[in-house]
């Protein structure tokens, strides 16, 4: 079973030790955090910088379909798009992963075999996380067995909000143990955690428990990824690496729809965590509609003209 980073082994010795550790983290001033995120959003990214940012953003996308209506056909279409996002331009980079429900993981794995695009699967009774631990673990096992390279788990927000931090921590540990070789993304559902202090504390619980990625949200609630909550999580992974040497990825998810938004997030990455994170291995966008806007902007950069929505695929 994976264990806590040695530098912080005392922090998770008991519920009260963990609570003390979390309340010892520096507070977050909401006004200042949002002002910083907004000021980074005014960086002007053009020409070569924009071309680089667009290709990088495409390569960081977890192309996602998480609907009750998902079918194998839908998933295969999405997989094909992930491998060749723009059929008119084969220089377009592929996306990082295709993200599906566990029952679609096998279909995605088969469609993506040999492509280099990873299969990500949400598990642990996504998106609510309201199930017994056994059920959640079975969900994870199922997804891994079906060929998922990455598991996106949701934390138990009920446990977090009622102060049972150790339960959240232990649940992540247990899920991580079931992941095997698969990388684990831990979703906090920041919109439900409500305060920035809670988001910072959740980030640390996730990192201490061995998350490979920390992720903002499921995309299923009103408030998903924002520049401010992503900035906060980038600060957390930066501080964690400084303390332990362990690098952890960040994934904002939900609500990022335009190239302009995506570029702002890349600026946050660049100026907060640093360029080490400007890589699909360490930063992802959980998005579905973002890709088409990136493709249209990419076509505009190469042709000088806007092509319109009929020049990108609808899958």
């Amino acid at each position: 079973m994976p264990t806590t980073a040695p530098a912080f082994s005392d922090a998770t010795a008991s519920d009260s030790a963990l609570r003390r550790f979390l309340s010892g983290l520096p507070g977050v001033d909401a006004v200042g955090l949002e002002a910083r995120a907004a000021s980074l959003g005014t960086r002007s990214i053009k020409t070569t910088a924009k071309a680089y940012a667009i290709d990088l953003a495409i390569s960081m996308i977890d192309l996602t379909t998480l609907e009750g209506a998902d079918t194998p056909g839908k998933v295969r279409a999405l997989a094909a798009k992930a491998v060749h996002p723009d059929p008119t331009d084969r220089t377009t980079p592929r996306t990082a992963a295709v993200c599906v429900y566990p029952d679609m993981a096998a279909t995605a794995a088969a469609a993506l075999a040999g492509s280099g695009v990873k299969v990500a699967s949400v598990a642990t009774a996504f998106p609510a996380g309201r199930a017994a631990l056994d059920v959640k673990l079975a969900d994870v096992r199922d997804a891994v067995a079906a060929g998922a390279d990455e598991i996106d788990m949701v934390i138990d927000r009920g446990a977090f909000l009622s102060g049972r931090f150790l339960k959240v921590y232990e649940e992540i540990l247990a899920v991580k143990a079931e992941c095997g070789a698969a990388r684990l993304k831990v979703i906090f559902e920041t919109g439900e955690l409500s305060t920035y202090d809670n988001i910072r504390r959740a980030s640390w619980i996730g990192m201490l428990a061995g998350a490979d990625f920390i992720k903002t949200s499921t995309g299923k609630v009103a408030t998903n990824a924002t520049p401010a909550n992503t900035l906060l999580m980038l600060e957390a992974v930066r501080d964690f690496r400084a303390a332990t040497g362990v690098q952890i990825g960040v994934k904002p998810a939900g609500g990022i729809r335009t190239t302009k938004d995506a570029v702002k997030f890349l600026v946050l990455v660049n100026e907060t965590a640093g360029e080490d994170w400007l890589d699909p291995h360490w930063f992802r966008f959980g998005a579905s509609s973002l890709l088409n806007d990136l493709l249209m902007q990419r076509q505009k950069l190469s042709t000088g003209r806007y092509s319109g929505p009929d020049y990108v695929t609808v899958d």
Binding site: V28, G32, S44, A49, Y52, L278
Partner: protein, 479 residues
């Protein structure tokens, strides 16, 4: 894939501003040459390019301008407040309409980043005119008695760090209360005041209500000592402020002085560290530290000293220094060669006295006046860099152990303009703020301005208040 995310240059276009090759003095609604025909050049600090040649006012010009203002005062002060308000609102609207042009102009003439002129200076300039326009017909309700009267002719001398904003701080309340104005901008940044003169004409402001005299210290001295000036308002160095105070002593002139500062920015161990680091950066590196209320002394609790310093150095390494017209630029040029020399000399003194210097690793452009963001550690109250105002991007870092020690050190200064407190504990904010001898105390933020909030100093930082309802008092006969 490129290894780094290099932002492409994104310079703001200079085409939006049309700078004439020469400008005269603005007296009685007209641009005229100086009586003795003298001129001087104004250069762009980021490139040393000559932008324009402007008239250099002498004593005779000051006299002409004061006479014009005196004449205009009769009618201007007799106008109903609601009429004066119309002019001020009109000026505010024109400033908003021309804000892009004025922002570029200010950046060219001053050297500060376009991000600051566009997003901070110009919105505040317009806001001050709007705010005082609102007071013009409500002076009876300002708390200075029924029907308070204007003083007469105001002689105003402003600095180069916020040329247009300081103009707004001075002119807006003066006009709202019915005074007329003779204003002298700093010799290194005369252009935005001259553009403002044009705005006064565009707004149809009666002749002589606002007069602008470009020139050097001699013109400023002639203005503040002119016998027919009723009110002196000065923002600038403490040395000049003392000279002004001496020169007007014994006269019935009313005076406000807004002088130097050495603001303490106090970071407690329970502060929101990431935001405190941003606040430290805003406190001392905003406008290249050329801010009288800059948080130039960082007082950090010993228990978090290393953590804060590491975070601060990391953050300073990401500051982008260079072309001020580029939207991506965080740090622009120092305003003048003289100012750069002054900063350099004080930094050398700091090193000679044994403080440890660290400068952000950034490449400085080959032309223009530049200074890399710098901090000094191992500084004590006995060091020159902890006492003298540097007026540049140089931060002195001191430590403390208890709140009492923080307050004692913060107050142990000849200045008292601003201070900052960083803590998550609300009761501590209130307790410490009450003990700080400073005109402005910011809590979990720094260098935030608003026209509704009075601004001014304790001790050698000057006297009188600008901004807010209090700012009216300086231009009204309340004796």
């Amino acid at each position: 894939m490129a290894s780094a995310f290099e932002y492409a240059p994104a310079p703001e276009s200079r085409a939006v501003v049309d700078i004439a090759p020469s400008y005269g003095l603005f007296i009685d609604g007209e641009f005229t040459e100086a009586a003795d025909g003298k001129v001087f050049k104004t250069v762009s600090p980021s490139s040393e390019e000559v932008l324009s040649e402007v008239a250099r006012a002498g004593a005779a010009d000051v006299d002409r301008a004061v006479k014009a203002a005196r004449k205009a005062f009769e009618k201007w002060s007799a106008l109903p407040g609601s009429e004066r308000a119309k002019y001020l609102f009109r000026i505010a609207r024109i400033i908003q309409e021309r804000s892009r042009e004025l922002a570029v102009l200010e950046t060219l003439d001053n050297g500060k980043p376009i991000k600051e002129t566009r997003d901070a200076d110009l919105p505040l300039v317009a806001a001050h005119f709007f705010y005082y326009a609102g007071w013009a017909d409500k002076l009876d309700h300002a708390g200075y008695g029924a029907n308070p009267r204007p003083l007469g002719v105001a002689g105003q001398v402003i600095p180069w760090n916020f040329p247009l904003l300081m103009l707004a701080w001075k002119i807006a309340p003066a006009l709202a209360t019915g005074n007329t104005v003779v204003l002298k901008p700093a010799e290194t940044t005369p252009l935005s005041a001259l553009f403002f003169a044009d705005i006064c004409r565009q707004a149809g402001l009666p002749k002589g209500v606002v007069n602008i005299l470009t020139g050097y210290g001699d013109a400023g001295e002639a203005l503040v000592t002119h016998p027919d000036v009723n009110k002196v308002a000065f923002t600038g160095s403490t040395a000049v402020g003392k000279a002004i105070a001496r020169s007007v002593a014994g006269t019935d002139k009313k005076v406000t002085l807004e002088l130097g500062g050495k603001g303490a920015n106090i970071v407690f161990d329970d502060a929101p560290i990431d935001q405190a680091v941003e606040g430290i950066v805003t406190g001392i590196f905003f406008n290249q530290g050329q801010v009288c209320c800059a948080g130039s002394r960082l007082l950090v609790q010993e228990s978090v000293r290393d953590e804060v310093l590491d975070a601060l150095k990391r953050r300073l390494s990401t500051l982008r220094l260079g072309d001020p017209l580029d939207k991506n630029t965080d740090i622009g040029a120092i305003n003048s060669a003289e100012q750069l020399a002054r900063i350099t000399a004080l930094v050398e003194t700091g090193e000679a006295e044994g403080a440890e210097r660290w400068s952000a690793p950034c490449e400085l452009p080959s032309s223009g006046y530049w200074f890399a963001p710098t901090l000094f550690t191992n500084v004590t109250q006995a060091h020159t860099v902890a006492r003298d105002e540097i007026f540049g991007p140089v931060l002195s870092v001191l430590t403390f152990r208890t709140p009492d020690e923080a307050v004692a050190k913060a107050n142990n200064s000849q200045y008292g303009l601003s201070a900052g407190i960083w803590t998550e504990k609300g009761s501590r904010i209130l307790a410490v703020a009450n003990k700080l001898r400073a005109g402005v105390v910011w809590a979990n933020t720094f260098n935030k301005f608003d026209p509704t909030s009075p601004f001014g100093g304790y001790k050698e930082s000057g006297y009188g208040r600008e901004g807010g309802r209090h700012g009216l008092e300086a231009y009204l006969d309340v004796r």
